[in-house]
Amino acid sequence: MLIINSPVVELSEIQKGIFLQKIKSPEIANGILPGQFLNIKVSEGFTPLLRRPFSICDVEDDNIFLMFNIYGEGTRILACKHIGDMINILGPLGKGYNFEDEFDIAVIIAGGLGAAPFPYLARKLKDRKEIISFIGGRSKSEVIRYNIPNSLVATEDGSDGFKGNVVQLFENEIRNYFNKSIKVFGCGPNGMLKALSDSVKKLSSEDYNIKCEISTESAMACGFGICQGCPIQDANNPEHYHLICKDGPVFNINDVVL
């Protein structure tokens, strides 16, 4: 964990409203893993007051990538940065995806901006595992395919790919892989994660060989475990909350209550 000022080296709008920021930061690039995140101070002063958490989207040599849309004040400021502007980064934070355990097929499930962590994960997996990806969005414009390999798309309004939610699509398709060991990597809105949890439970009960890790979100103040602001209910102990920033943001889907 460190705090560092790093320069923006490229800013692009990869599709309408979705920004990709390339930042040169060897210190972060060398130490970060897929699923971990960074807490970014978007302006010099204290407006907005708090840092903003962003997943590591990708790493290329000394450069890191952030993917975001303009949601509120913080992301608006971030999207207006010029090349050469310095970004104050605190990270790497949290626990990322475990992609080094045993499995045959890596399944990526991304809902909307939940696509953010997967270019990096796919990069790490690509020469070692078969990857199948499912990308969802409410409509075509919300589907983010950027650097996610071998993808099938689901939209709620049917404007792109399968009509329905991405978890349904996944469940339909995965039936082709009954005898493989599957590891699902999920990220997206809470509704999607809940559906995914149900789906994984169902598939497990049908004796599929399936594991699943998901990346969760919460309002955060510190991002590194000192404020207790980001609880998520422990599935195994009703008297305990995990901290999303420190114990997560990636959890085994069975370990948390969504």
Binding site: M1, L2, I3, K41, F46, T47, P48, L49, L50, R51, L90, S218, A219, M220, A221, C222, G223, F224, G225, I226, C227, Q228, G229, C230, P231, I232, E239, H240, Y241, K246
Partner: protein
Amino acid sequence: MKTVDLSVNIGKLKLNNPILLASGTVGYGNEISDFIDLNILGGIITKSISLKPRKGNKPQRIVETSSGMLNAIGLANVGLEEFINEKVPFLAKYNVPIICNIAASSIEEYVECVKVLNDEETIKAFEINVSCPNVKDGGLQFGNNLSMVGKITEQVRSATNKTIIMKLSPNVSYIAEFAKVCKENGADAVSAINTLVGTAFNINTRKPKLSNIFGGLSGPAIKPIALAKVLEIHRNVDIPIIGVGGIMNWQDVIEFMIAGASAIQIGTLNFIDPTASLSILKGLNDYCIERNIESISQLTGSYILE
């Protein structure tokens, strides 16, 4: 280069410098030790501890506001036992005064906590949190009740010889009355202020943004209020004051000391810049050198009101 004496005293407690990290904004010190050497600090105030572990409130616990944040953590903490077994040993490795903040829902619980912790050498002082506004079964009532605060002070006093700091609520008409009662009942110092009660609503769902409905407001938004409370106490009661509320830089620290604070606490700032103490220390030192101030403690209450 000239050197400045940055040390200050809080009653019999001597600190190498006036910078304390505020309760609830530094956990038990371990995470923040990745960023700074804890030994450079004046002291660390641990997250409010209660007799039994507390799970804390349901999410959402944090809301950002204009120059501030609301929190309704609900005093989530590991409880006294785990604190002693797991947290204190870590802190014991450092050479920095540890102040243990205690929250409780009865006078007896306060006293029991203090008694149990009294033998821990690592703990140099107690900060008694009577003011946390976000626990339904305690905080608010104690902190707003003059005679209760008096009783708690008295009982805690009789349970320990260590330094006792009473942390006061700003959600009262006249905070100086509370400081006075603390002094009369044997407290060594007061901390001012804890957070102010606030709330926020989601205008789409019409629900409060915090599961607890109300939360505590901290950050630069409250600095003018905290300063006024410190000044009010300083003008009315002769007791050391630890200033806290919205401190974001060394200038703010000087402002609090001028207004009457003997030491200060950094709270919300830790979340944004856990290394802030470093630059603040430098700023304090330079300010004193430029003005030929030999000891920073001379600043305390040095205001000029015409």
